[in-house]
């Protein structure tokens, strides 16, 4: 055994040790809050998780929240697919020089913070908003929406429709990101060959024998993800359906009273049972997504996107119309926030208003005229949390991805899959539950940590690391080992070998992962809302919520909230542009 092989052996041990440590640390970060929360809630209620689950249906409000959550998440998934599928189809199957720009714009909502989306839809449906201007009053539910409510006895249909549209807006890019790549790289010979066979001589046959098997898993995967995100949606539910509660919002609303010995035991019991039921549903959805993703990945591959587009011809008028409507749908809420931040409506009595446009709200937001914390301070807090999150999430996610890839290369496929699925699991824990878990865990073990400024970083790491893993793992798999081998044969030192043979291929995806980590951390709302209200380290998203919660007698309240939301939106949009700049062409998987 020569020196080199001994060194390599130790290097491999060290690499394995670092990988295992990263996986263990992430598992602890991910599950400790849940464990602490359940343990604390069991102690307070004196009831086990199983007993709590079995008593879930005893409280009618629990069943109401479960039903509402299930219905809104299911509707959101269906509507998102119905809107997203035609857009993905035209985006993928036509030659159009602006396709990359359109695709990027349509993907913006997914990185837009939930609270900004909520503000965008409020601006869209409130008095003076675009929908309100064309006679669709989803907020106060007058006119057509009121008639629907009266005829069908459906309470608050406008709020429900607004929520479903907001979820569709938020998750539209998921459908596009999942469905467009297989369509865009689809070998046209398959379609041609099938059309020349009896099994493909009618539209129904082609749908059954070609399109459903090929894009079905991608569509279902996107629908399941939309269901997952809509199921745990909090900011949108809080602001758009104020009279209905989802499981997530009921937990958040009762969170303040939970976990305290001898106080509001009912609240602790509701959270214990609701979180357990929610976790089960989310786990099942996540398993379904993993299975579908595996089927989806095994179907696609095919030909170069450019060749496929060239074969399919120019964008038709129907295609142009579809993409135009898609872009209007995507941009309208964002433009509405921006416009609403400049519009100040003052009452002059008798239900009459005057309207003026100025920068006053931006100035007031920046100076903190209407809040304890100014937008500039909240921005600083947000940036600190986002940067610390990035400094931990990116290396952690990178090491976990590298571990998954190494396990796959060494034929430990089962173990690789376990680590892969484990890295996704935090997505099955709702943000509110994460926040509560950390809160209750600290309450149980070390209450002095309540004063620790960086506490909100913990949920941010949990929620962003899975995305880093989802971006970096496929990128690592795609590297051809021949480059590293060639670098070694050129007698380069190990660092140069790594740099030229590996890092140069991972730099782009790493920038994408970093930008999205920053964007997600900046926009995180659910967990921060639980944690930050105990201290005073308000982030921009929390500040928007606080401002919007103020009584609206002051005409500046809404514009200031919109101005703060606009700042957050511009920040995340900039990060998104950076991410898009470095996203490999034709990449649509992951997120």
């Amino acid at each position: 055994m020569n020196c080199f092989s001994i060194e390599k052996k130790y290097f491999n041990y060290l690499k394995g040790l670092i990988g295992a440590s990263a996986v263990i640390i992430f598992a602890i970060i991910s599950f400790a809050p849940l464990f602490f929360a359940i343990e604390r809630l069991q102690m307070v209620t004196g009831v086990s998780v199983i007993s709590a689950m079995s008593s879930f249906a005893d409280r009618p409000a629990n069943l109401d929240s479960l039903t509402f959550t299930f219905v809104e998440a299911s509707f959101s998934a269906v509507v998102t697919v119905l809107i997203g599928l035609p857009i993905a189809w035209h985006l993928a199957r036509s030659e159009w020089k602006h396709v990359r720009l359109a695709r990027a714009l349509l993907a913006v909502p997914f990185v837009t913070p939930a609270i900004v989306a909520a503000m965008g839809f409020l601006a869209l449906i409130s008095e003076g908003g675009i929908l309100w201007s064309i006679g669709i009053d989803l907020r106060l539910e007058s006119g057509l929406i009121g008639t629907i409510s009266d005829i069908f006895g459906w309470q608050h249909p406008g709020h429900f429709i607004a929520l479903i549209l907001a979820h569709a807006w938020f998750n539209l890019s998921l459908v596009i990101r999942f469905v467009e790549p297989p369509l865009a790289t689809f070998d046209p010979r398959w379609e041609e060959q099938l059309s020349l066979l009896p099994g493909g001589n009618s539209r129904i046959n082609r749908l059954r024998n070609l399109w459903i098997p090929f894009i079905g898993p991608a569509v279902l995967c996107a629908a399941a993800m939309t269901f997952l995100f809509s199921f745990t949606s909090f900011a949108l539910v809080k602001w758009l359906t104020p009279f209905s509660e989802t499981m997530e919002s009921s937990m958040a609303n009762m969170g303040g009273a939970a976990g305290i010995m001898g106080y509001r035991v009912d609240a602790s019991l509701v959270i214990l049972s609701t979180s357990a039921i929610q976790f089960l549903i989310l786990m099942l959805t996540l398993i379904l997504i993993t299975l579908l993703q595996r089927r989806n990945n095994s179907r696609v591959s095919m030909i170069s996107e450019n060749v496929a587009r060239h074969n399919r011809g120019k964008l038709s008028y129907v295609g142009k119309g579809t993409l135009f409507l898609g872009l209007v749908f995507t941009l309208a809420p964002m433009i509405s926030i921006f416009v609403a931040s400049f519009r100040i409506r003052s009452s002059i009595g008798n239900g009459q208003f005057t309207e003026r446009f100025s920068f006053d709200a931006w100035v007031a937001a920046w100076q903190g005229d209407l809040s304890y914390v100014s937008a500039s301070e909240a921005l600083t807090n947000s940036l600190i949390y986002a940067i610390v999150t990035l400094l931990i999430s990116l290396p952690l996610g990178w090491i976990i991805s590298s571990t998954i890839h190494s396990l796959e290369k060494s034929n430990n496929v089962k173990l690789a899959k376990i680590v892969d699925v484990m890295s996704m699991l935090p997505l099955a824990i709702s943000a509110v539950m994460v926040g509560l878990g950390i809160l209750l865990g600290i309450l149980r073990y070390n209450s002095s940590l309540f004063g620790f400024f960086l506490l909100p970083v913990l949920p941010h790491i949990m929620l962003t690391t899975p995305f880093v893993v989802r971006i970096m793992t496929p990128a690592m798999r795609a590297i051809d080992p021949v480059f590293e081998q060639q670098a070694r044969l050129l007698n380069l030192n190990p660092i140069q070998c790594w740099w030229h043979g590996r890092f140069s291929f991972l730099r782009g995806p790493a920038i994408v992962a970093a930008s999205l980590t920053l964007a997600f951390s900046l926009g995180e709302f659910g967990a921060s809302w639980i944690l930050v209200r105990t201290g005073s380290w308000d982030t921009l998203s929390i500040l928007v919520d606080q401002l919007m919660s103020r009584p609206k007698f002051d005409p500046m309240v809404q514009p200031v909230a919109m101005a703060t939301a606009s700042m957050l939106m511009m920040l995340t949009f900039t990060l998104f542009v950076i991410a898009e700049r470095f996203r490999p062409k034709g990449d649509g998987g992951g997120i």
Binding site: R189, W190, Q193, L194, L196, L197, P198, N201, N209, P213
Partner: protein, 223 residues
């Protein structure tokens, strides 16, 4: 729909094709008869594949005419719309096109007008696979097939649908010489057995001689 009384199955008159400013061919004339196997011999890039795509309706006809004549004398004229009819014309591509979400039997069933129930499909497929020496392959995943095996499955699938005219776009070009000869002979035998007319395009004179009743040089039918 016009009526045709003679034994012609395909009639091409003054056909021209261009993509943008690039002229592919012009003034093409060709006639072929029922049950006949023609090999069209031409160099790479001359437009052989484009011609086949026009005949089966995957490319539009802008100048000249292509008439495919059905057995009852009906004439199907290709026009400036893409319009395919699987019962009339079949096509085997240069590279085998098999659907990866289906196994061998599933791919073969796509060629059947009335496919049997799922549990019987393997059995039925086996019957056809036997004709091309692929017994026991019905349950195989298509990724496990070699180029020659995959092309044989494509051939079986195309023949099951019993088109009046089968177009073969250099389907054996990627195979080694020995396999190419073997498959060419098997194909000819199957086509003759089923009485299917075929237009086979190739750049290989030996293959053209082997498979066809009549060899036509590309430059003899275009201007």
């Amino acid at each position: 729909m016009e009526q045709n009384n003679d034994d012609t199955i395909l009639k091409i008159e003054k056909l021209a094709k261009s993509f943008g400013q690039t002229n592919i061919f012009s003034e093409m004339n060709l006639e072929m008869y029922n049950g006949e196997i023609i090999a069209l011999l031409g160099p790479s890039g001359c437009g052989k594949s484009t011609l086949l795509r026009m005949i089966c309706g995957l490319e539009t006809v802008e100048e000249g005419s292509i008439d495919v004549i059905e057995s009852d004398g009906n004439i199907i004229t290709r026009d400036n719309a893409k319009n395919v009819d699987a019962k009339l014309v079949g096509l085997i591509f240069q590279k085998p096109v098999l659907f990866p979400h289906l196994n061998v039997a599933g791919n073969i069933m796509l060629g059947m007008n009335n496919p049997p129930a799922k549990k019987l499909q393997k059995k039925v497929a086996e019957k056809y696979l036997n004709d091309v020496g692929l017994s026991g392959f019905s349950g195989n995943n298509i990724e496990t097939l070699s180029g020659g095996e995959a092309q044989r499955v494509c051939l079986i699938r195309a023949l099951i649908s019993e088109p009046k005219l089968l177009l073969l776009d250099e389907p054996f070009s990627a195979l080694d010489v020995k396999s190419r000869r073997k498959i060419a002979l098997e194909t000819k035998q199957l086509l003759k057995q089923k009485g299917i007319s075929a237009l086979h395009v190739t750049h290989d004179p030996e293959e053209a001689e082997l498979i066809s009743d009549r060899v036509i040089n590309w430059q003899d039918i275009v201007e």
